[in-house]
Each structure stands twice: as structure tokens, then as C-alpha cells.
Amino acid sequence: MNLLVRLRPLGFIVLLLAAWHVAVNRQAVHLLPDPLQVAGGFVELIQRGLLLKYVVASLFRVTWGFCLAAIIAIPAGLAIGWHRRLEMALNPFLQILRPISPLAWIPISILWFGVGDVAAIFLIFLASLLPLTLTAINAVEGIPAVYVNAGRNFGLSPVRLVYSVLYPAVIPRLILGLRITLGIAWLVVVAAEMIAVNSGLGFLIVDARNAGNRYDLVVAGMVSIGLIGLLLDMGMRSLESVRAFRWGYSED
């Protein structure tokens, strides 16, 4: 019974693939490649050694952009959240930056870094920076006063208060923010690769269309993006079940 429930999402996907196959092949004009053609596209990409190469290229950019943003945004956000006056001063500026799509920065990042890896990494960095900063600010503000008071009561030095109370208290919310932001970063890398570079899954999609309307490869690229996005999310989500963090996600 349990196994059956677990297999349900898989069954649904199989059903959709079948429907897709039938629908495409009933039409004279093919608006989409059918699933078998896409599978053929996958085989071709693997044989040419491109799939792994492109996946690695995309993950490389995301890793750099995302990690650089995390290294800067988390300490900065924690500091801003801790000092209310700093937050009041900076908040309007952050709120103005927020509605600007990371993709709007494409011309400027090409201007600064030229066409290439650095421009793409910079875009991911920018896309991750603001959500992570805001997450960290909110995480600090959400710490119940009792924890900080208890920490002070036991005579903790400021440094010790940060790493024994502040830091563990914000971890669950930070993980949630990192998870959401990683999703954003993955969205942006694909878009960035469509413009600024000549490798990666985003490049694959644009290139397959430009080089002879290979829509089987386009869809194969899309499916790869979806699957890797799912894996990234599952990876981040597994952090939420760590025993020392789990308290932050319970209903209680």
C-alpha cells in the first residue's frame, strides 16, 4: 500500500508521457517531438559527451554564483537584522532592488565582464544575493527574545552569543531561504546561458534551435533542467530533517 502511494507520482508521469506520445502522433504537423524522439535526443547527447559536459558547466556557474552570494549575504543579512537602525536605513534601498529581475542585469554584466563565464556567474550571484540577504534579516528578527535573554543571562560574551544562540536560532529559516534561492539561481543560470556563454543547458536549448531546429534536443535540455532542479531541491530539503534543525519546521 505504502509502495503504491509512493509510485503514484511516477505512474502519473508515465501516463502523461503516453498521452503526449499519442497526442503528438495524431497530428500531421508536429508541434512537439514525441517522447521517443526526446529519448533519442538524450542518447545522442550522451554519445557526443555533451550532456554531462553541459550539466557540469551549468552546475559550476550556479555553485560559484550561489556560494559567493551566500558568503556575503548571510553575514551581512544577520548583521543588518541584528542592528535595527541599520535595517531601517537600508530597507528602502533593498526594496527598490527587489522588483528588478536578475535578467535586467544582463546588459550590465556583459558590459562589466564581457561574454563568458564570469558574466553568467555574476548574474547568478546577483539573483541570489538579495533573497539571501532578506532571508537572513528576517531570520534574525524572528528569533524569540527569550533565547537572546537566556543567552545574556548566562553571561555569554557577544561572540559566544552569536555562535551559541544567534546562529543556531536562525539555521532553520536560513536553510529554507537557501533552498528557495537555489531554485531561483537555477532558473537564472539557464537564462544567462542563453545569452552570455557557449556551454551549459541553457546554451544547449538555444543552440539546438539555432542549429537546425532540433526540438528533440531542446526538450531533452528542458527535461534535464527540471530533473536537476528537483535533485537540488531534494538535496537542500534533506538538511531540514537533520535532528538539530528539525525544531524549526514542526507545526508546534
Binding site: N149, R152, S164, V165, A169, A244, W247
Partner: protein, 259 residues
């Protein structure tokens, strides 16, 4: 315990003089406390009793150093209180335990100055004292409300403070657990002889626990009366003296003892 009552006036552990507190909100000033003078003796168990929102918690936060009073001074052991201090631990309702630490981690939280061996002995001792053996590796979310409360008391006692401030510590517990916890607290108090200031709005609780009950008026709170509970522990809660003292406080607060 009876002996300590006589000495109280001479060497007070805590001496609050002329404490006043008012909060400003939306341009209005609300007076919460007015001219409170209070002495707490060494090793005494003192209850602050008053209706909800009367300001007794504010008073506790002031003597613990978390809030600065608008007027007046608090002296403990002859020094004026400037802020919270590890010699005096404040016990919040069970919400105060750190959810990211295990039972052991919580009890050891304030022991960072000790060596590892000392710390482990101390942790084991206080886990045993509050009856949490077998739960050393458990996280607070796996514990019941009463266990979390005992954990917080253990964390406070582990640093060997002189004083404990307890702010309605059993308020969130069910009535059976609350009774058990009162017994536990008295047992621990008799073993460790800390000076305790205990805030409650429960008259029975105050009369069962305290050496003296400080009855506070409604806002702005003043000390309305101090009632000495001259019954030795363990107290018979159906004895005539107990009922007399309890009913006296009911009357003092202006509640007819009938529903």
C-alpha cells in the same frame, strides 16, 4: 526556614527601593509599577502574586536586570543591578529551552567555563536532580511540557546561581503536572537552598510554595500586603492554618471565596 524569616530585615539578599516603571506608547505614558519597596532574604522563597497584567512580571524583569526601572534602585548583595548576571538565572516558561540543543546540551549551556570532565559531572548531576535520566540525547520537542520545564530549571541550577527568578513557570502546564512540579521545585529548593522569586497569579500555588507572599494591586501595581506563610513543609493543604492564610489572600484581592 523559620529562622531565616527573623533575620530578613537585617541582611536582605535583594533590596528594591522606590521602584517605579512606566511605558510610553503612542504618546501616552502608562504607569505599571509605583513605588515598590521590597526585601528578599537569603534563601527565601518569595512569591509575587497579582492579577494578570498587573506588572509583577515587569517587576521580576527589573530585579533580574533585563529592564531598567524608570525610578528606584535594585541592590543584590549590596551591589546595584546593572544587567542580567549568571549568578541569578531567570526561568522563563518552558519556551526558554533551546530547541537546537539536546537535554544534555541545554543543561550544559551555561557551563562553558568548566573543563569537559567537570561539565559532564555537573550535567549528569542536574539531569538526575530533575529526573530526566534516559533523556540526555533527546531534543526538547520530544519532551512533554513538564519535562521541558524541569529541563529549564536544571539548566538554571547547573551554573550554581545564588538566585532564581521564575516567571509563572508552571502557567502553561496542565493542573496535574503543575501540582507535581510544585512538589519537585520545593524538593530542589530544599536541597539547594537558592533564593527564589516566583511570579504567579495562582493563589493556591503561592500559599503552597512561598515563605512570604507579596500581594500586588492592579495596575499601576503597588505592594498591597505581604503575607507570611508560617507553615512548615510539607504543607497540609487542608489544615486550618493553610485555609486561613489562603482565604485571607482571597479576601485581600477582593474575591469572594465562592463561585
Amino acid at each position: 526556614m523559620q529562622a531565616s524569616t527573623a533575620k530578613k530585615a537585617i541582611d536582605a539578599k535583594l533590596r528594591a527601593k522606590g521602584i517605579g516603571m512606566s511605558f510610553k506608547r503612542d504618546g501616552n505614558t502608562t504607569a505599571v509599577l509605583e513605588n515598590i519597596d521590597l526585601d528578599v532574604g537569603e534563601g527565601e522563597f518569595l512569591c509575587l502574586l497579582g492579577p494578570s497584567g498587573c506588572g509583577k512580571s515587569t517587576l521580576l524583569n527589573i530585579v533580574a536586570g533585563f529592564l531598567e526601572p524608570t525610578s528606584g534602585t535594585v541592590m543584590i548583595d549590596g551591589e546595584s543591578v546593572k544587567g542580567p548576571d549568571a549568578r541569578r538565572i531567570f526561568v522563563f516558561q518552558e519556551r526558554g529551552v533551546f530547541p537546537w540543543l539536546t537535554v544534555e546540551g541545554n543543561v550544559g549551556f551555561g557551563l562553558f567555563r568548566l573543563t569537559r570532565a567537570e561539565r559532564e559531572t555537573r550535567i549528569a548531576h542536574y539531569i538526575k536532580l530533575v529526573g530526566l535520566q534516559g533523556f540526555e540525547k533527546a531534543y526538547p520537542q520530544e519532551l512533554s511540557g513538564g519535562m521541558k520545564q524541569r529541563l529549564e530549571v536544571a539548566r538554571a541550577l547547573a551554573v550554581k546561581p545564588d538566585m532564581l527568578f521564575l516567571d509563572e513557570p508552571f502557567g502553561a502546564l496542565d493542573s496535574i503536572t503543575r501540582l507535581i512540579m510544585r512538589g519537585e521545585l520545593l524538593r530542589i529548593w530544599e536541597a539547594e537552598r537558592k533564593t527564589i522569586v516566583f511570579v504567579t497569579h495562582d493563589i493556591e500555588e503561592a500559599v503552597q510554595l512561598a515563605d512570604r507572599v507579596v500581594v500586588m494591586s492592579t495596575r499601576p501595581a503597588r505592594i498591597q500586603k505581604i503575607v507570611e506563610i508560617d507553615i512548615p513543609h510539607p504543607r497540609d493543604i487542608s489544615s486550618p492554618r493553610y485555609l486561613e492564610l489562603r482565604d485571607g489572600i482571597f479576601e485581600e484581592i477582593g474575591l469572594a471565596h465562592k463561585i
